[in-house]
Every structure is written in structure tokens, then in C-alpha cells.
């Protein structure tokens, strides 16, 4: 899994333009987190995609976009996941590595749960 971080202007249409590059190159985004950041009027996009070669192929195209200030791959240590487990006692929130979360979900046999893989 490759994690990519982009610094972009915080305005309407930016996500569409950035995602357009992934769309054109038929790259599926596994996870994406976007939000305002420590710099005014700028936002940070953190996303992950599976294939390193594809990640490299899209990077220069992203950098060429006028609303993208910076784009690069970041080193990531582990694959995160989180889950919400629902039971009679209430809702339990679990975070950790993919393996840890899988194992807790498996052991606790909740009535119902939702899980997000590859969180970043």
C-alpha cells in the first residue's frame, strides 16, 4: 500500500480535479482523508493506493495541476484499520493495525459491526 500526501488549495472543484487524474489512469483509491490544515486556505489530502508503479505514474500529473501545491509519497509504517462494534452493552470503538482489529472483531463476536480497512 502506498500513501500519498497532497497539499492543495481549499476551494470547490479541487477534489474533482485531483480525482480526475486517478480516474483517467484507472487507479482505485483505497482510502482518502481530506481536511483543512495548519496553513490558511489550504487543505491536505492523504490517500492510499495499492500499486507503487501506478502511484509514481500519477505523481507528476498531480504536481502539474495548478491547484496542487505539493504531492509526494510518504513512508508509512503499518496498515491501520478501525471498527465500531455494536452489542447490547453499547458501541465499542476499536483502532489498531488491520490484524489487531480483525482479531478483536473475530473474538468479540459482536451483533453487528462496521469496519474500515487501510485507514490512514
Amino acid at each position: 500500500m502506498e500513501v500519498m500526501m497532497l497539499l492543495v488549495y481549499d476551494q470547490p472543484g479541487v477534489m474533482q480535479r485531483v480525482m480526475g487524474e486517478f480516474n483517467r489512469k484507472r487507479i482505485n483509491v483505497e482510502t482518502i482523508v481530506v481536511g483543512k490544515c495548519e496553513m490558511a486556505d489550504k487543505a491536505r489530502i492523504v490517500l492510499s493506493i495499492k500499486d507503487r508503479e501506478k502511484a509514481m505514474s500519477v505523481l507528476e500529473h498531480l504536481r502539474a495541476l495548478h491547484e496542487v501545491i505539493d504531492a509526494d509519497l510518504v513512508e508509512q509504517e503499518r496498515h491501520e484499520a478501525y471498527a465500531l462494534l455494536f452489542s447490547k452493552e453499547g458501541v465499542c470503538r476499536v483502532t489498531g493495525t488491520v490484524e489487531e482489529v480483525d482479531s478483536i472483531v473475530g473474538k468479540s463476536k459482536p451483533e453487528r459491526y462496521i469496519q474500515a480497512m487501510n485507514a490512514i
Binding site: P12, G13, Q16, G20, R24, R63, L65, H66
Partner: protein
């Protein structure tokens, strides 16, 4: 001042002398301000042609062409013109009107999401929703279109922006865009490869046309003692009567050019993206070749051809850096001599006298009788490929064609745009009957604006290129390629007030062209050509050079 006034003043400030377009409801305020402006507005008959005219204008003047269309259908009609400019890296500022910001997204009358439609086919685009930002947005658009790799920029302007108040302070705001990156760290590696090459070849692409580096490239070629091949987009950037220039390579290129491309040991590729129409089967292209790839756009380096030395910068700068750094080339000039000999042998049979009239004959006569500073545009299809192969571009001749998008109907409006940019030069569109019928209404624009261009129509009654593929690859099962009922093109042109001539005999071709060159109104030359004639030689798509279909081609230089 009001936004509409500001828009006109900003365009004047950008030195815009002419714009192409059609007004509409949301543009009325803007057009009202144009009444008092010196900007020449050329009213087209279809927005797509406003795009192509601005594109043709840009390719001649090397300045951004400006086109404008109203919201909704105006914007969607403009899309093809903008996409064509995008694929060929032509600088353009495309303006569309939009419904008012307070109803945006509500399916208002004549609303289309032009901002989203244009996004993937522009270098950048804007939707102005805050009048404060309007002046700087317009300035930025021109700057982006002409910084680094050229390209179209689109601005979507809601109608209320035209009536909003703009302050002087907003008008005078300075804008900046990031400078294009330059990376010449590979220069020494590139020089070493070129100096030690046994069989070097230079391939030039559209980037060279835009940076006008042809003269410098010929100097480098003479230093390297190597041949130069061009892509379709670079035709005309280097003189085709120079013995080292082998002409256009690729699917319908000259055999000697493909030979050089596939037998060189070091390829210096400048301003080209290695299109599939050039390389055939990518996996087999240049397997024996080391590639030095020069491009202004860093994202092009390594996109289609892997394993190379990349130099990021504009063609002119990099070529001059190579010239400055070049020491003596080490190997003996046997390769150069071989290519000069092969180039002489690669002479085509134009079939000059047989009937029915052959399209090659028409191109040959055009080549002979058009002045040395003529501007040639083409449509897309067989007409374009015959022009590519048989027309000779040298001197100040310029060749304008839709290479990347392959837009039928491009040539005629592009010729009109070119004529606006260079009224004193002869402009000729090499056309096909399929392409011309897509834009034939622009005869009205040509007449109204006094734009006497020559249309050399290669009229074979078919969508010829598609027919050729049906013939060669689909067992002659023809469908939807024959025009059962073509109009009388001569009468049609005359109905618009243009001059027209039908030509059926080889002996009449030269005189017709000479009449066209002298004509003071647009002139249509309806050449009735042999419908059985194919564009050959042809490298079938996805095949490598050994599988070339030669036809009349007399090439004996071996597998290329």
C-alpha cells in the same frame, strides 16, 4: 466599474485584438461593452468553430486565441474546439457564460456544468463565483495558457459577475503562476550518449513547432551528422528540402524516416510524447535504442517510453545547451551517408497522369504551386495523411493539423483563424468531403469577414480512412462509410457567395490551384479523386515495422 466593462478592459490589456464566438442570453452585458471596444469580434456559425479558429489563430500568431460561447449548449458545442487545442498544446483562453450564481446547480434555463465538462480537457479552468477575484482570474488564465507547456484555459463566468462592481484595486492586482520546472541534470549523460552514438537520430515533435527551435535543431543535426525525423505535429518545423530531414515518421510516414527511427542506436526525442501513431507497437519500439527525451512537461518523460535520459526544459533552451556542450562526435559519418543515400531513394510515385485523378497528384501540385510562406491546414483522415506524406514543407511554410484529437472539421475553421492572424499569406485547407460537411456553414463566416482561403477538397464520396480500414482489416465489409447523397459542393459554395471549381482531370489541377491562390474570396476546389486510392504505405495499428503495407511505395531500403 461593472464586471462586463472590466472583462473587456482586461482582454484589451492582454493585447487581445480578435475573438471568435457567438453571443447568448448570459453574455449580453459583455457583448454590449464590446460595442465600444477595438477588439474585433468574429461571429462564427457554430461554437466548435470558434474554438478551432482561435486555435488556428494561436498556431500562427503564437499568442493565445480567444473564443467565447454562451452557457449550456454554447459551452457544450465549444468542448470539441477546446479538447482539440488541449491535445495539441495550443494556447487558448475559452470563455463561457453561465447562469447566475444564485441558481447554479438548479437546472436553470441553458445551464450545463461547463466547469466540470471542461476540467479534463483544459490545462486549467476557473468558475468565477466571487466578483472580487474576477480580474485576477482573467489575468491568470492568459498567464497559465502561455507558461511552460502551452494549453487551453477555460473560464466560466456567471451572468451576475458581469453586473457586479469591480474596484480599481481589484483590477490592478498582480498575478503570478509557478515557473515551469527545468531539469538538465542529465545533460552530461545525454551528451556522452550522443557523442558516442554510431547511428544517432533526432526525432522532433510539436514542442519544436511551438518553441520555434527548428533552426537550432538543424545546427545540432549537422554537428551530430545525423538525420532528423518529425512527427505529424512537427511537420514544417524543420525544412523538408534539407538532405538530413527525412520527413514525417509513423503510421503513414515516409519509409526512410521509419527506417532511421527503428535502426538508430541513440534517439534524441525533442518535444514529442511518443504517440501510438508514431511508435506502432510500443513494446517493440526502440528496443535496440537508447533514448534521450527532451520535454517541457516533466510528466511526459517516461510516460510512454521507459528507460531513457530525461531533460526537462523547452526545446530551444535544451537544444542550445546540447550544442554548447557538444564535443566532437567520435564515430565515422557512415550512418549519415547511408541515410542521405536512402533518403534520395525514398522517392514516391505520384502517379501524375492517370485517371481518375489521384489525390497524390493534387497534393503534389499544391506543393509545387503554393507560395513558400503558405499556411496549410488539413482536416482529419486520408486528406491529412496524403498531405503528411506528399506535401513538402520548407521555407516559411506552416502545417497546421489536428494531430492529437484527430478532429474532423478542424481544417476549414483553423484556416480561417490562420487567415485572421496572417491576412497577407496564402492559407489553404486540404480537406475531405466527410470533414468539410461537418463545418461547411463557416463559408458564411469566411464571406462576412473577408477571409479568402483556398479549400482543396479531395472529394471521393467516402469516409475514406475508415473505409480503408474496413477494406484492409474487415474483409471489405463496408458499412456507414459511403456517402450515398453528397451535395453539389460547387453549388453549395456558390450559394454562400464563394467561388468554386470542379476539377476531374490531372491536367487541370495546376491551373485550378493557381486560380485559388489568386482568388479574392474563399475558393473551393472540388477535386473529384479516385475513391479506390488508399493511403499507403501504412503501418497497421499495433504492428511493428516489418508488417508495413506498401502499395505503390517503391522503398527498397529493407525492413524499417
Amino acid at each position: 466599474m461593472k464586471g462586463a466593462r472590466a472583462a473587456v478592459e482586461l482582454l484589451e490589456e492582454q493585447n487581445v485584438k480578435v475573438m471568435f464566438g457567438i453571443p447568448g442570453g448570459v453574455l449580453l452585458q459583455f457583448y454590449d461593452e464590446l460595442v465600444q471596444s477595438d477588439i474585433r469580434h468574429i461571429l462564427v456559425r457554430h461554437e466548435q468553430c470558434a474554438g478551432h479558429m482561435a486555435d488556428g489563430f494561436a498556431r500562427v500568431s503564437k499568442r493565445p486565441g480567444v473564443c467565447i460561447a454562451t452557457s449550456g449548449p454554447g459551452a457544450t458545442n465549444l468542448v470539441t474546439g477546446v479538447a482539440t487545442a488541449y491535445m495539441d498544446s495550443s494556447p487558448m483562453v475559452a470563455i463561457t457564460g453561465q447562469v447566475a450564481t444564485n441558481v447554479l446547480g438548479n437546472d436553470a434555463f441553458q445551464e450545463a456544468d461547463a466547469f466540470s465538462l471542461m476540467m479534463p480537457i483544459t490545462k486549467h479552468n476557473f468558475r468565477v463565483t466571487d466578483p472580487k477575484e474576477f480580474p485576477e482570474t482573467l489575468k491568470k488564465a492568459f498567464l497559465i495558457a502561455t507558461t511552460g507547456r502551452y494549453g487551453p484555459v477555460h473560464i466560466d463566468i456567471p451572468v451576475d459577475i458581469f453586473s457586479a462592481d469591480i474596484t480599481d484595486e481589484q483590477m490592478s492586482k498582480e498575478v503570478r503562476v509557478p515557473k515551469p520546472k527545468r531539469n538538465l541534470t542529465g545533460l552530461l549523460d545525454a551528451l556522452k550518449l550522443l557523442e558516442n552514438a554510431e547511428r544517432p537520430t533526432i526525432m522532433v515533435g510539436g514542442g519544436v513547432t511551438w518553441s520555434q527551435a527548428g533552426g537550432d535543431i538543424m545546427r545540432l543535426a549537422e554537428m551530430l551528422m545525423c538525420p532528423v525525423v518529425t512527427t505529424l505535429m512537427a511537420k514544417g518545423s524543420v525544412p523538408e528540402n534539407h538532405p538530413l530531414v527525412l520527413g514525417v515518421c509513423g503510421m503513414h510516414g515516409r519509409q526512410v524516416a521509419n527506417y532511421a527511427l527503428n535502426n538508430c542506436d541513440v534517439l534524441l526525442a525533442i518535444g514529442t510524447r511518443f504517440s501510438d501513431r508514431v511508435t506502432g507497437k510500443l513494446s517493440e519500439f526502440g528496443t535496440k535504442t537508447k533514448v534521450v527525451h527532451v520535454d517541457i512537461d516533466s510528466s511526459e518523460i517516461g510516460k510512454n517510453v521507459k528507460g531513457r535520459v530525461g531533460l526537462v526544459g523547452d526545446a530551444w533552451t535544451v537544444v542550445n545547451a546540447l550544442i554548447a556542450g557538444m564535443q566532437q562526435r567520435k564515430k565515422a559519418p557512415t550512418w549519415k551517408q547511408k541515410m542521405l543515400d536512402l533518403n534520395k531513394q525514398c522517392s514516391c510515385d505520384y502517379d501524375l497522369t492517370s485517371e481518375p485523378l489521384k489525390p497524390q497528384k493534387v497534393i503534389h501540385e499544391l506543393s509545387k504551386h503554393l507560395p513558400e510562406d503558405a499556411i496549410i491546414t488539413t482536416e482529419v483522415g486520408q486528406n491529412q495523411m496524403w498531405a503528411l506524406h506528399f506535401f513538402k514543407c520548407y521555407g516559411k511554410r506552416q502545417f497546421i493539423t489536428s494531430g492529437g484529437l484527430g478532429t474532423m472539421g478542424f481544417g476549414f475553421p483553423a484556416a480561417l483563424g490562420a487567415k485572421v492572424a496572417a491576412p497577407d499569406r496564402v492559407v489553404a485547407d486540404i480537406a475531405g468531403d466527410g470533414s468539410l460537411q461537418m463545418v461547411i456553414q463557416e463559408f458564411a463566416t469566411a464571406m462576412e469577414n473577408d477571409l479568402p482561403v483556398v479549400i482543396a477538397l479531395l472529394d471521393n464520396g467516402w469516409l475514406g480512412n475508415v473505409k480503408q480500414w474496413q477494406k484492409l482489416f474487415y474483409g471489405e465489409r463496408y458499412i456507414a462509410t459511403k456517402f450515398g447523397r453528397n451535395p453539389d459542393f460547387v453549388k453549395l459554395a456558390e450559394a454562400y457567395g464563394a467561388e468554386a471549381l470542379r476539377v476531374e482531370r490531372p491536367s487541370e489541377v495546376a491551373e485550378a490551384i493557381q486560380r485559388g491562390v489568386k482568388a479574392e474570396v474563399p475558393m473551393l476546389l472540388d477535386f473529384i479523386v479516385d475513391p479506390e486510392e488508399d493511403v499507403l504505405p501504412m503501418l497497421p495499428p499495433g504492428k511493428s515495422s516489418g508488417d508495413c503495407i506498401k502499395g505503390r511505395c517503391r522503398w527498397k531500403g529493407g525492413v524499417c
